[in-house]
C-alpha cells in the first residue's frame, strides 16, 4: 500500500524503479536474448566471428578484437555487474542495519564508538583499499568481490538506519512500550522494525550504488575478476584495444550507458523514497 502511494507520488521513485526494473529484466532475460542474437554459441568464445566487425543487422554493436559479438558480451556482463552490486548492497545493508541499529538504539558509549568507526569509514578514501584487497584475493569471484565491496560500503546504510532509529526511539509509543517493561527484543521486533522497512530499502539502494561505483572503479583499472565478463571489464578491455583510434568506440558506449542508467535508477529510487518517507526532505527537490 505504501509503495503504491510512493509510486504514485514520487516521480523520482517511479522513474528510478522503472529504469532499475528494466535493467533487472534485461539481465534475467540474458540467456534467451543471447541465443536470439548468436544462437547457442558461447558469447565468450574467441574467434566466433571476424574481428572488429562494424555494427550491422547481425551484430548491432559489431564484434570485438577477438571476434565476439558485443551485444552478447554486454548481455552476459549485465547480470554479473548487477549481481555483484546488489549482493554487495545486501551484505552491506545487513551489516549497516545491525550496526546502525545497535548504535541508534543503545546510544551512549556504544553509539559513540560505532559512530566514530562509521564516520571513519565514510571519510577515508576506500577505493585504494578495495583495489588492494581485490588485487590480492585468491580466486576472486562474484561473491568474494561482493564481500570486499560490502566491507567498505556498509557505513552508508548504517548512517541512514541509525538516524532513523534515533528518531523512532524518541517517539511516544516506543516510550510507552519501554515504560510497560517490554523487552528490548519485543520493542525492536514489535515496534521499531516494522517502521524501518523503507529506510532499509533506502540504505540498500544507496549501498548498491556505492558498491556499483567501486566495482566500476576496480574493473576499469583491469583489477576485477578475470574469469568473468562484467560491464566495467568490457570498458577496460575496449580501452586496452585502443578502440578510440580504431573508430570502434561503440564497444564501450553500451556498457557505459547501462552503468549510468544503473547508477541513476538506483539513486532516483533512494532519493524518491527519502523524500517520501522523510518529512523534512519532502518536496525539496
Amino acid at each position: 500500500m505504501v509503495f503504491v502511494n510512493l509510486f504514485r507520488e514520487s516521480g523520482k521513485f517511479r522513474l528510478g524503479s522503472i529504469i532499475t526494473l528494466l535493467l533487472i529484466v534485461l539481465a534475467l532475460l540474458h540467456q534467451p536474448l543471447v541465443e536470439w542474437r548468436i544462437g547457442n554459441a558461447d558469447p565468450m568464445k574467441v574467434g566466433s566471428f571476424p574481428i572488429f566487425l562494424d555494427p550491422s543487422g547481425e551484430h548491432w554493436l559489431g564484434t570485438d578484437r577477438f571476434g565476439r559479438d558485443v551485444v552478447s558480451l554486454v548481455l552476459i556482463a549485465l547480470p554479473i555487474s548487477l549481481t555483484v552490486a546488489f549482493l554487495a548492497g545486501a551484505i552491506s545493508t545487513t551489516l549497516g542495519v545491525v550496526i546502525g541499529f545497535v548504535s541508534g538504539y543503545k546510544g551512549g558509549r556504544i553509539d559513540a564508538v560505532l559512530r566514530t568507526i562509521t564516520d571513519m569509514f565514510i571519510v577515508i578514501p576506500t577505493l585504494p583499499l578495495i583495489i588492494i584487497l581485490a588485487a590480492n584475493t585468491r580466486n576472486l569471484g562474484s561473491v568474494k568481490l561482493a564481500l570486499v565491496l560490502a566491507f567498505f560500503s556498509w557505513p552508508v546504510a548504517a548512517r541512514v538506519i541509525r538516524s532513523q532509529v534515533m528518531s523512532l526511539r524518541e517517539r511516544p509509543y516506543i516510550e510507552l512500550s519501554k515504560m510497560t517493561n517490554l523487552s528490548d527484543r519485543e520493542i525492536i521486533f514489535g515496534d521499531i522494525l516494522p517502521n524501518m522497512a523503507p529506510y532499509v530499502a533506502i540504505g540498500f539502494a544507496q549501498a548498491s550504488v556505492g558498491s556499483a561505483f567501486a566495482l566500476v572503479g576496480l574493473t576499469v583499472l583491469g583489477l576485477g575478476p578475470s574469469s568473468q565478463m562484467d560491464l566495467g571489464r568490457i570498458i577496460s578491455e575496449a580501452l586496452g584495444y585502443g578502440v578510440i583510434s580504431l573508430g570502434k568506440e561503440l564497444i564501450f558506449v553500451a556498457p557505459v550507458v547501462l552503468l549510468i542508467l544503473l547508477f541513476l535508477g538506483l539513486a532516483l529510487v533512494s532519493q524518491g523514497m527519502e523524500e517520501f518517507f522523510n518529512p523534512r526532505l519532502r518536496g525539496q527537490v
Binding site: 577515508i124 588492494i132 588485487a135 572503479g217 583489477l223 547508477f263 532516483l268 526532505l281
Partner: protein
C-alpha cells in the same frame, strides 16, 4: 560513494563534529577548550585506529610479497636471466621490514614512521624510500584534487543557490535535471568523452602527463600555464560531476530554508529578495556545505585515482595502483596512510573552524 561523487542529498543527520560533545560534564575547562580537546582526542584515536587497521590489513594479505618480488624479477621482461636464492629472499624480507612477529613488525613500523617519517624502502624503485616516491608525486595530486574539489564545490553551491532561488523557472528545472544525471556519472566516463573530443578529435588539449616536456619545474609563467593546460581535462572531468552533486545538495538546502518560518517573517518585514538571499539564504545554506566538503573528500580522493590513471598524471593515485599491482606493501601503505591522514586532518580543521564562522554551530551542545 566511492568514485568521486559527493553525496547528492544531505542525509537526515546532524552536521558532523560539534555535536560530538553532546554530554556536558562537570569540570574546570571552559566549553570551548573542552570541545577542542575532545575533537583533538577523537582525531588522534581515529588516526591511530585507521593506521593500525591498514597496517594489519596489509600484513594479512595472502601470498608472500618477497617471493612474489623475486619471482617477478625472474619473469620480468619475459626472459629468465636471474636465478633467485634463499639468500635473496631473506635479505629482502629484512630490508622490507617483514621479518619477526607481527607485533614486532607493528612496533618497528610505527617507530620508524613517527620518529623518522620512514615508511621503509619501496619495491617499485628499490632502494628509494617510499616516502620519496610519494613526496615526488604528492604535489601533482594536491594540485589536481585541490583545484577540482574547490572549483566543483564553489560552482556547485553558486549554481545550487541560484537554481534553488529561482526554482520555478524553466531553466532552473533543466539545470537541476541535467545535474541529477551528471551527479551519477563516474567522472571517469566524463573524462573519456572529454579525451575523445578535446584531445583526440580536435587536438585542443593534452591528455597525457602534467606539463610540457620541454619545460623545467620552476616559478615561471610559462611553466605555470603549461601545468594549467595539462590539468584542464582531468580537472574538468572531475568538476563537471562534483559540481552537479554540490548543486543538488545546495539547492535542497536553499529550498528548505526558503520554506522556513523566519523567511516568512523576513518577507513580512519587507526585506528585499536580494537581501534575503544574501543575508539569510546564502549564509544558512553554504555553511553546512563546508562540513559536507570534508566528508566528501574521501570519495574525491578515490575518484582521483582513476582520473590520474587515465591521464597518466604523475600523482599518488598512479603510484598507488602501480604499487598494488606489484605488491609493494611499503609504498601502497604509505600512500593510504598519507591519504587517510590528509582527509582526517582537513576534517579536523574544518570542524575546529566551523564554529568560528557559523554562529549556529556552538562549541557546546
Amino acid at each position: 560513494m566511492v568514485a568521486g561523487n559527493p553525496p547528492a542529498t544531505v542525509l537526515d543527520d546532524e552536521p558532523a563534529g560539534p555535536q560530538l560533545s553532546a554530554v556536558p560534564r562537570k569540570g574546570a575547562l571552559n566549553p570551548t577548550a573542552r570541545y577542542i580537546l575532545r575533537r583533538l582526542g577523537l582525531y588522534l584515536i581515529t588516526l591511530w585506529g585507521s593506521l593500525s587497521a591498514s597496517f594489519f590489513f596489509f600484513r594479512m594479505l595472502p601470498g608472500d610479497p618477497i617471493s612474489g618480488i623475486i619471482a617477478q624479477l625472474q619473469t620480468r621482461g619475459q626472459y629468465s636471466a636471474i636465478e633467485g636464492s634463499q639468500d635473496m629472499v631473506e635479505h629482502y624480507r629484512r630490508e622490507f621490514g617483514l621479518d619477526g612477529s607481527l607485533g614486532e613488525q607493528y612496533v618497528r613500523y610505527f617507530q620508524n614512521v613517527f620518529t623518522r617519517f620512514d615508511f621503509g624502502p619501496s619495491v617499485l624503485s628499490y632502494p628509494t624510500a617510499s616516502t620519496d616516491l610519494i613526496l615526488r608525486a604528492l604535489p601533482w595530486t594536491l594540485v589536481l584534487i585541490g583545484v577540482s574539489t574547490l572549483l566543483g564545490w564553489l560552482l556547485g553551491i553558486l549554481l545550487g543557490t541560484l537554481t534553488g532561488w529561482r526554482r520555478r523557472s524553466r531553466w532552473a528545472e533543466w539545470v537541476t535535471n541535467t545535474a541529477l544525471v551528471f551527479s551519477h556519472v563516474p567522472s571517469y566516463f566524463v573524462a573519456l568523452v572529454l579525451i575523445i573530443f578535446l584531445a583526440y578529435r580536435f587536438s585542443l588539449l593534452p591528455a597525457n602527463g602534467a606539463y610540457d616536456a620541454s619545460l623545467q619545474p620552476e616559478w615561471s609563467l610559462e611553466f605555470f600555464l603549461s601545468v594549467i593546460k595539462y590539468a584542464t581535462l582531468p580537472v574538468l572531468a572531475t568538476v563537471l560531476v562534483s559540481l552537479s552533486g554540490w548543486m543538488l545538495s545546495t539547492r535542497a538546502l536553499v529550498v528548505s530554508i526558503l520554506g522556513e518560518d523566519f523567511l516568512t517573517f523576513a518577507n513580512a518585514k519587507g526585506l528585499t529578495p536580494r537581501r534575503i538571499l544574501t543575508s539569510y539564504v546564502m549564509r544558512n545554506a553554504w555553511l553546512p556545505q563546508i562540513a559536507a566538503l570534508g566528508m566528501a573528500l574521501g570519495s574525491v580522493v578515490s575518484g582521483n585515482v582513476l582520473i590520474e590513471r587515465l591521464f597518466r598524471y604523475p600523482g599518488v593515485g598512479n603510484l598507488l595502483v602501480d604499487s598494488v599491482v606489484i605488491k609493494d606493501v611499503n609504498t601502497a601503505m604509505a600512500v593510504v596512510t598519507l591519504l587517510i591522514f590528509m582527509v582526517l586532518t582537513i576534517n579536523l580543521i574544518i570542524d575546529l573552524c566551523l564554529p568560528l564562522i557559523d554562529p549556529r554551530v556552538k562549541f557546546t551542545s
